[in-house]
Symmetry: C2
């Protein structure tokens, strides 16, 4: 990795660039009708290459969107949380797969109905477009993380994002496993684990339990110790 001075810089969750607020441009329940369905942990919602007949909206739970290589290497493109809309495709086929990370309640609406609604309702069409453009901006953010950050930076960046989404200040409750985090950040499960303990030793955070992490802002020694 391109590294250089990264570990000499303090890694402060507060300096993580603010992400675009999700509530903006979200779709209301009225514009996203349909019965909620439950999905169990690790259940597939749709698979790459399948037909893209529905758009989805999460009522509760966490979803992972990912692609896999032939030999099984997996890249999670994004996690989707409560209120998020996913599975939006322009073509008839899925370019990635979706699975429930935790138990979920999800509403599915036919793509055809959404497109028809957008045709008639210019404001809705605009919000659908804005949502896509915002997702694209987030994807660009994540590319910077994947391509140019170190393991420590990746993990801090991820925790900062999740904290921002949860709005619980510096306390992060993880709904996903270390493997999921690794596949999101382009690391191995061992590196994620090791990096968390190193960050803890450096005082950047506290691993209260595997799925519960408290972020401690800047004051943190370089990497001596």
């Amino acid at each position: 990795m391109a590294m250089a001075t990264a570990l000499n810089h303090p890694i402060d969750p507060a300096t993580v660039e603010p992400r675009v607020a999700r509530s903006q441009n979200a779709f209301g329940a009225l514009e996203f009708p349909g019965a909620a369905r439950r999905y169990g942990r690790n259940e597939e919602i749709f698979g790459e290459g399948g037909r893209a007949d529905y758009f989805y909206r999460i009522l509760t739970g966490t979803v992972r969107l990912y692609r896999v290589l032939a030999d099984g290497r997996r890249q999670i493109a994004a996690f989707q949380f409560e209120g998020d809309v996913f599975g939006v495709e322009a073509s008839d086929y899925r370019h990635l797969s979706a699975e429930a990370v935790s138990d979920c309640e999800i509403v599915a609406t036919p793509r055809s109905a959404m497109l028809r609604h957008a045709e008639r309702n210019g404001d809705f069409a605009h919000r659908m477009w804005a949502r896509a453009v915002t997702d694209l901006a987030e994807a660009h953010d994540h590319m910077l993380v994947l391509g140019r950050q170190t393991a420590a930076e990746k993990v801090m960046s991820f925790l900062g994002d999740v904290a921002g989404r949860q709005g619980t200040g510096t306390l992060v409750k993880l709904t996903m496993s270390r493997q999921d985090i690794a596949d999101y950040l382009g690391l191995t499960i061992e590196t994620v684990s090791r990096t968390l303990t190193q960050l803890e030793r450096r005082g950047a955070l506290e691993v209260q339990s595997a799925r519960r992490i408290e972020l401690r802002s800047n004051p943190q020694r370089p990497l001596d110790s």
Copy 2:
């Protein structure tokens, strides 16, 4: 990197997943009015954080879209070629920067005019949305490359993409420098260079000149030699 067996698999440019055809959903000249402006090599078109008052369409040349970290590490999110539309933002501010890779002719149209046009023309609004969703799918593809592929796979993937865009079969004419390629693939310039010579030794391609590469499909020994 997650690697394992990658170099034992042949890396065949023909097996690179077909990308979405760019001609689909493109915007016609009529729908993208404005005078063309020339940009010189490495000239900035817009910068991260600046106001997003225009959408751009390339008549000739190549553009890089990128983000940079405070210490200068750069990630190129995408290259844009002839016919491509870029600089499309939902918010008023740029989330990334754009520069001319080569001399370019580019048309700029006010964002307000585009949005007004989309309001009145449902079909245009739909194509604008479809373009954004397709760009997002391409971003997801690139995340898989950045997060889970080896240097050799990254370089082959990149060359396959460019070949696909140029439609010149197996001959690739690069308009960008090794540094640009490195920053697109999350590698260093030295690794890109070394990887190209290794791939050449393995018979996967021929570096006819620095900016001209001929792809030779599969028949290629593992990595002995």
